[in-house]
């Protein structure tokens, strides 16, 4: 992608960030704000939803490295999200009340439990996930691509279930089962501690994390590893003949992708101020995949757009539209139930008609349409 276009996207997102921050930090608490505008924003762009969509951006960027860069289909990404979340739950709360460990924590020293600094937990969550990424990747990456999808799918089912049933593993309470782990430590950020309702400041922190992921994605893409990923995505055999070590390169993609999943998991845990096992279901993996596919596999700016768009539609757009529509026309249509239709259609239609996504990556377009000419030929033949 051309440099000027990169700059355009970066500037656009930056302006949006500044505007949103001003809105939430200064306009929302301001008494002079007309109630009409306040209600409108609260209905169509609540700060909760914006922060959540940023978590999706972080994870989608991670999945983009696995699916978009390296071309490996991962259908169990939610597992990393869950592991990251539980890292936050374990190391930032009073859950393990039997011990008293503090490591630059943001709560009083007397509080029981493990209290590690939020920034430290981010690192721990990311690294633990990267470890699990390698663990699941090492034995399976030799498999055919579709088998790999299934193994990741199985992994994505097992991990949340372990947490779900984890209130009694040989008598040990690992995850508090369905009750989940609640009340996490506030985020220490220099001047003040950021609690669960400081949306404005948390917004900035999530933006910072997303920025880190964008930076990592763009830098890696340009470097040796990124080029190796693209080579594998385009032709594994040819890449291996050119001396690209297949296993190491694929594992690196898995590890980096999982790392992002860990960051997203920790961020999400602080966002909802707790970890709940039943939230980590299969549909999250598919939502993330739909975001990557819609935005354009391999294109960072496209993936961000896809993630913002779809998560906004899922959390705010559909319910708000449904509310407005139902009250205007006196109907009782359950709009949020249409998410399944929407995400299914996004995946199918994008694959059928615009495989490269809304903002295509120029190299990928060529590969994804390879074979189309052949298909036309055989279609004519059979007629």
């Amino acid at each position: 992608m051309a440099v000027s276009s990169q700059r355009k996207w970066a500037t656009g997102y930056l302006i949006a960030v500044v505007l949103l921050f001003i809105t939430y930090q200064f306009l929302f608490p301001w008494d002079g704000l007309p109630t009409g505008i306040y209600d409108f924003l609260q209905l169509w762009l609540p700060p909760m939803a914006v922060n959540e969509s940023l978590v999706y951006v972080i994870c989608a960027l991670g999945l983009n490295i696995v699916v978009g860069y390296a071309g490996l289909l991962d259908l169990g990404y939610v597992a990393f999200w869950a592991i990251g979340g539980y890292c936050a739950g374990w190391f930032m709360s009073e859950f393990f009340y039997m011990v008293n460990l503090h490591f630059f924590g943001s709560v009083a020293k007397a509080a029981p439990g493990i209290h590690v600094n939020f920034w430290g937990v981010l690192l721990i969550g990311g690294l633990v996930c990267a470890f699990f990424g390698i663990l699941i990747g090492a034995p399976t990456l030799r498999l055919k691509s579709d088998y790999l999808a299934i193994v990741t799918l199985g992994f994505g089912e097992i991990i949340p279930q372990v947490f779900f049933n984890g209130d009694n593993i040989g008598g040990f309470n690992l995850s508090n089962g369905t009750k989940g782990i609640t009340i996490l430590d506030p985020i220490p950020a220099g001047i003040k501690n950021i609690g669960p309702f400081d949306f404005g400041y948390k917004f900035i922190i999530f933006v910072f994390l997303a920025f880190v992921m964008i930076f990592i994605s763009l830098r890696l893409r340009k470097g040796r590893l990124g080029r190796a990923w693209l080579a594998i995505r385009e032709d594994e055999l040819a890449a291996s003949m050119m001396g690209v070590p297949l296993m190491q390169t694929k594992l690196a993609a898995y590890a980096v992708g999982a790392f992002a999943g860990g960051l997203g998991g920790v961020a999400f845990a602080t966002h909802v101020d707790g970890v709940y096992a039943e939230r980590f279901n299969f549909s999250i993996s598919i939502f993330l995949l739909a975001m990557v596919v819609l935005g354009g596999m391999g294109n960072v700016w496209g993936v961000i757009l896809g993630a913002l768009l779809l998560s906004w539609i899922n959390s705010t757009g559909l319910p708000a539209f449904g509310q407005t529509f139902n009250s205007r026309f006196g109907t009782e249509i359950n709009f949020p139930s249409f998410t399944f239709l929407l995400f299914g259609l996004v995946l199918i239609l994008m694959m059928l008609y615009k495989r490269e996504g809304l903002i295509p990556e120029s190299r990928l377009r060529l590969i994804l349409h390879e074979g189309d000419a052949e298909e036309d030929l055989s279609a004519k033949e059979s007629k």
Binding site: V162, E236, F340
Partner: protein, 350 residues
């Protein structure tokens, strides 16, 4: 990926030898653990052991019907049809509507039996048609596209069918009356329900018919040829598109039959039924060696029994770990022996 060559005389490359060693030692460890676990349970509660095995075999038969759909489709176009489990769910919903709402049958009598048989045919036609439509509208266009594209489409299709399920069934589980008898026979202390017998009576002929179609008829020959090499099959005068449609129709029909049997034996339907059962069925197909019909049935019965044993035995993880056990088997199989129990070792086609 390294292309491995079928070795005749020499024992294989270094990688192959190492691979074989991993497979053997893995199989030995798992086998030993299995023997210890089963032995302990057998000594502790022999009747219960037999009981849960029967239950497991019954579930396995259902899994087999679904697993065959996966294996047929994978065998012919190398696509994991994620939507197949949800097709089964639609089959279950269709049967419940057909029997209870459209034909008002709630009891096990002659009218109920006739409706049951009609529903079997109708559900098979219904699911077969939907499966053919899915292939025609979505997968056919992507047959020569890179592998990621049809896979993602199949996932999308699964979501689409689940949406239909939500709208049709509602988002909560739904109870239905059943028209098959729920009596029991006791045989050496082991309870065998009439449901089990009916399941066998319906599933066994279907499986035999399928084997006959694939192995003995001209259509079956065309299917096998298409599976081997589509272009060569086309050169030999086989209508590849029609053959693939036919395969999807058979797979769908089996899923429809499974849907009816599930709905009648369990009595509840839910929109996300297909996801869980579909994954279990897929695991069965992989365990038996995907693409291999006998393998799918064998794998399904094994998975059914393992699940039954795990859920019902005194020394076991219990029902809440049921899914985890199945998926662990899936991962272990894929890691240790990707070709499955009966499958031939495959290499990445270049």
């Amino acid at each position: 990926m390294k292309a491995t060559v079928e070795a005749k005389k020499f024992t294989g490359t270094r990688g192959q030898v190492r691979r074989k060693r991993i497979e053997l030692s893995g199989a030995a460890i798992i086998g030993l653990l299995l023997v210890v676990w089963l032995g302990a349970n057998l000594i502790k509660a022999p009747t219960q052991f037999a009981q849960v095995t029967v239950l497991g075999l019954r579930n396995g038969l259902l899994y087999a019907l679904i697993a065959l759909g996966y294996t047929l489709v994978y065998g012919i176009i190398e696509l994991i049809n994620f939507a197949h489990g949800d097709l089964f769910m639609l089959g279950a919903l269709f049967s419940s509507y057909f029997i209870t709402i459209w034909f008002h049958q709630e009891n096990s009598n002659l009218a109920g039996w006739v409706t049951f048989l009609l529903a079997l045919i109708a559900a098979m036609l219904f699911c077969g048609t939907i499966n053919v439509l899915i292939e025609r509208l979505a997968y056919r266009k992507l047959r020569r596209a890179p592998k990621l594209a049809p896979l993602i489409t199949a996932v999308g299709m699964s979501f689409l069918l689940q949406f239909i399920g939500i709208k049709w069934n509602g988002s909560t589980p739904r109870q239905w009356p059943t028209v098959i008898p729920h009596g029991e026979y006791v045989w050496f202390g082991v309870i065998i329900s009439q449901v089990t017998i009916i399941l066998i009576l319906v599933a066994a002929p279907l499986l035999t018919l399928l084997t006959f179609v694939v192995n003995k008829t001209k259509r079956g020959k065309a299917m096998r040829a298409t599976a081997q090499d589509q272009d060569a099959a086309r050169l030999m005068g086989i209508d590849v598109n029609k053959t693939i449609s036919f395969t999807f129709a058979i797979g769908g029909a089996l899923a429809g039959a499974a849907g009816l049997l599930y709905q009648q034996s369990v009595g509840t339907t839910n929109y996300n039924l297909g996801f869980q059962l579909g994954l279990i069925a897929f695991t069965s197909a992989v365990l038996g060696g995907i693409g291999n019909l006998n393998g799918a049935v064998l794998g399904a019965l094994l998975i059914g029994v393992v699940q039954g044993l795990n859920d019902g035995l005194p020394i076991a993880l219990g029902q809440r770990w049921s899914q985890t056990v199945v998926f662990t088997i899936l991962i272990l199989i894929l890691v240790l022996k990707p070709a499955g129990l009966l499958g031939k070792a495959t290499t990445e086609k270049v």
